[in-house]
Amino acid sequence: MQVRNVWTVRAMVIVAVLFAALMFSPEHDARPTGISSVDSGCSCHSQTPSSEVVASITLANGSALPENYEPGATYALLISFSGGPAEDNNPERVNTGGFNLVASKGTLTPIDNTTQILAGELTHTDAGNDQQAWNANWTAPTSGSAVLRLMTNSVNGDNSASSDDQWNTVSYTVSGAGGEAPTMKANGLTVLFSGILLTAILFAIALTYVFYVRDPESFSWARFKPWITHWLTSTDHKSVGTLYFVSGLFFLGVGGILAMMIRIQLSSPGNDFLTKDEYNSFFTLHGTVMIFLAAMPLINGFANWIVPLQIGAKDLCFPRLNAMSFWLQPVGAILLLSGMFSGMGADVGWTGYQPITSTTDHYGATFWLAGQVLLVASSTLTGINFIVTIATMRAPGMGWMQMPLFTWSILVSVMMLFISIPTFGIGLIEAYLDRTISTTFYNTAAGGDPLLWSHLFWYFGHPEVYVVVVPAFGVISEVIATSARRTIFGYRSMVYALAGIGFVAFIVYGHHMLTSGMSPLLRFVVMLTTMLVAVPTGIKIFNWLKTMHGGSLVYRTHTLWALGFLVTFTLGGISGMFFPAIAMDVHLHETYFVVAHFHYVLVGGTVFGLFAAFYYWYPKITGRMMSERLGILHFLIGFISYNGVFWPMHKLGLLGMTRRHHTYYIRADEYSDIIGTLPPEAAQWNFFITVCAFMFFLSNLIMVYNIIASWLNGRKAPADPWGGWSFEWMVSSPPPTPSFDEIPTLLNANPDHAPGRLTGMLERIMTPDPGDEGEEAGH
């Protein structure tokens, strides 16, 4: 009993320390001007400010702005500019001047019809679009320094926006009565991420305190040191797997919070909860964090824990490389997110299409690239480890065709990852060098080709989405078969389907680029091949269904998640069939239909699969049973709210709601006669989605609570609580270290697993030589 307590304490403290460590902030750089997201001038004219335009703010009587204001007083401002193309006073010119004024404090009020307040900022109206000077009132705040930042456009008046138009900006600081320095206003992103950091630290301290109260003795350095050393240096596959779980769950939370922020922003049209910059960074990092830092570590966690146990190996073949694959991940994560703390997070989309990735002024994009380079290295090492382990360390009697399906799925998945990820790595390094030493791989001026990146990215990216979903297939195969107390139906066709999916992924990647301007011939080829994916996937779904036939299905939490997976994955698979048809893709491309589709596959597929895996292998990993009651609650709320989030997105996408927009246009007011804007009910659907998204997010906290609570107070688990057949159920729960005292031998219930049927030749290659196997595999 004492031993278990120490373990619990150790595990909980590592959670705390990792929370703190992962959120270590390398840089804080609050921006003194933090008054607007618009940093690069007016959106519709040339990119850089021009010194020919001189902007100024004075008082209306002509005198300069006072250095100190009187609290609460109202000042009449004269906003003006001179210089630039607007100077040429040709009467035929239209819309020659405009401005935008933001005040960090106080209130700006228009006093005539030439100015107006838009989104909190003062700007000109249609009527005031030809002027070079405007009047407005500014009411001073009661305290603190105020910054007034003015941007003016000097336009050539040809009524089309072009780079001949010039603009400039100027800022004034008006101090409060005390004349103190301008206050530093932090960026919203900094606030959010510092908030997460702070919460994590407080959480860690609280946890530490709880455990201190429980067992003060465990808090001596003498006991802490070996404990922390163990976690930092361990190469045991189980410890590394646990580390993966901790970091994966943490980043699942971070990605979830980002998603919630995105959903709040989209809950109503024209919302200004987030600035454009923040929104763009959030959806970029939501994608990257969820794929690379949540889904893949969680899969790696299960792979680490379960694969050696399933194939009857004591550990992975290269334990130190395995530890390194893990430790590259948090380091990569810190790099990847480090731009966020200075409000300069990567804002390029998780696909990082060029040339915006090479030219965005958010330097977080450089770190985002660097962080992903480390993740690529990590995945490569993982790939080597698992491929070699599965290829060379299977227990006697376990030919390729006797491997449990989860192991098969991990093999196919790492194989795909391993073959494709160097391509992505090279693309990243090219982009990283573009952003640092100014190579020109994606610089169109030097002949660079943005499509090269798209190709390199999707050559990796498409296998990658299968990489995260294929392990879920493996989990579901195990769960469905075990829950139904049946053998999986069509083991062989399951394996060939997996391998088929893995291979086809490399040919069809171009369907992400059907509208990208790549060679039409290649587009044509991928149109025809993409639909092929449906065949192996269909085989798997029908096999799962057939597995239940004649069985006795026990409804446990993991069974429910597996059935939920079948529902959502089938829907996601069907909606996927709409994209390869080019004539449909040109409408659906980059709409919420795509968003709905890949969330149905990635959340309804991968994440549901991972949930099922959590409930299924939790007793094996911790030696404790999980609470079924909470699990079912989690499933019910999660499944329903999940569908509430993503099902309406199909409709929104069909109506033409485009993704990655921080706002959207409703057919009302001035847009009421424009066909193609969204009908008014789209706003209501978006609000509904947001509400459901919060429910889904919160429902997952139930699982987190369940994991922690069951770990502390759950009932003891037997070695084989569900009745599975593979080796992991043979060892005790939790397994000892090393995992097997002696390597077991797999027996075979099939009297003749002789080659024959469809695949005699493949079979011969894939079964052990008769000489080797003869005595040991014994029937």
Binding site: Q47, T48, T229, L232, T233, A313, K314, D315, C317, F318, P319, R320, A323, M324, W327, L328, V331, L335, D361, T366, F367, G371, V373, L374, G383, I384, V388, A391, T392, M393, R394, A395, P396, F418, I419, P422, T423, G425, G427, R435, T436, S438, T439, T440, F441, A446, G447, G448, L452, L456, T737, P738, I743, I765, M766, T767, D769, E773, E776, A777
Partner: protein, 348 residues
């Protein structure tokens, strides 16, 4: 094979009391992160948002990152130093078709698979740009707008050399000398490393004598690899003037990734002409591909350094000679990559 070799998993097997905890992974990871972070910090985008400004301040920290990586490697090696091959893990009987193959050998080959993909990606980049960007040669005789992007391959600077077209040897331009030496250096080093393997496997020699020979072969490989990198630096940055041989470096020939206004002179006599062209893409592809190869050579040098030290201390014998073979596989692969890189970038 007997069971003695069947079920030992990993060079640091649980049941042999070898260390199974290691600081190396976390240290190397942190080092990589520090390096990439501060390397990126050294460059910021300029205000025009069309280029990057270099700031040397964070660079020492980037180098510190490399030092951390190296410290991690040393801690890794310390654990491996005593490995004498007595429990070289082998694939289990169940794992046909790999039954009884050394696991580390399979691992090395699987690693080489990813290396193949890395170089294939680089070559895809190269082929794509080589086929889509117009060659500067084909623009000869036409009037082009200054700053037009076109492809002026490295081989132009190396083989034709513009006004430096001097050939002391008569049959080979001087500027090709470093590249040619490198090609021979890599092939010879491939040979010396298999000789090291062959020698380490010999049982007809005394251990001390064998160790000296192995060390010498590995040392020769080390020297040739270093020669390779030195020659590459000569070719990139330094240039040379030794006796009758004289060749400018690519840098002084203005073959750089920033050169968007290279004056390309062509033809002789009446056909002579000049144009200002943007050759940044050719330079980028050249430096990235040969640079990636160079990084692989550097990694090989680091590994060879460890092996020379271990061989000097008598660490290699018939029992663990395969370790040399596995490093050799990597080293031959680097050679193979050069076999592809050399014609594509230096000759064509």
């Amino acid at each position: 094979m007997s069971d003695d070799h069947g079920y030992h998993h990993g060079p640091h097997d649980w049941s042999h009391g070898a260390p199974h905890n290691s600081w190396a992974p976390i240290v190397i990871s942190i080092g990589s992160g520090v390096f990439l972070f501060f390397f990126a910090k050294a460059f910021t985008m300029n205000e025009g948002m069309n280029g990057y400004i270099y700031d040397s301040a964070p660079l020492p920290l980037a180098i510190a990152g490399l030092a951390i990586i190296f410290a991690g490697l040393i801690s890794w090696w310390k654990q491996d130093f005593s490995f004498d091959g007595s429990y070289e893990p082998q694939a289990t009987h169940g794992s046909a078709p790999f039954s009884n193959v050394d696991i580390r050998k399979v691992g090395m080959w699987v690693f080489l698979m990813s290396e193949m993909m890395i170089f294939s990606s680089l070559f895809s980049t190269y082929i794509r740009y080589r086929t889509s960007i117009v060659s500067c040669y084909s623009l000869e005789g036409t009037v082009v707008e200054p700053g037009t992007a076109c492809w002026l391959p490295a081989s132009y600077f190396i083989a034709k050399g513009g006004e430096h077209a001097n050939s002391t040897l008569g049959f080979m331009p001087d500027a090709l000398v470093p590249g040619a030496i490198n090609t021979f250096a890599l092939i010879i080093s491939s040979y010396t490393i298999v000789m090291a393997l062959k020698t380490a496997k010999r049982t007809d020699l005394e251990h001390a004598e064998r160790s000296i020979k192995v060390r010498n072969y590995l040392g020769a490989t080390f020297c040739l690899a270093t020669l390779f990198l030195v020659m590459k630096m000569v070719e990139w940055f330094i240039g040379f003037h030794i006796g009758p041989f004289e060749a400018p470096s690519l840098l002084s020939d203005q073959f750089t990734i920033h050169n968007d206004a290279y004056t390309y002179n062509y033809g002789h006599g009446a056909e002579a002409g000049a144009m200002t062209v943007d050759i940044r893409m050719a330079a980028s592809a050249f430096y990235l591909t040969t640079g990636t190869h160079g990084v692989h050579v550097f990694a090989g040098i680091v590994g060879l350094g460890y092996m020379v030290v271990k061989a000097h201390k008598g660490g290699y014998g018939p029992g663990n000679a395969v370790s040399i073979e596995y490093f050799g596989l990597y080293w031959h692969f680097v050679d193979l990559a050069w076999v592809a890189v050399f014609p594509a970038f230096y000759l064509y």
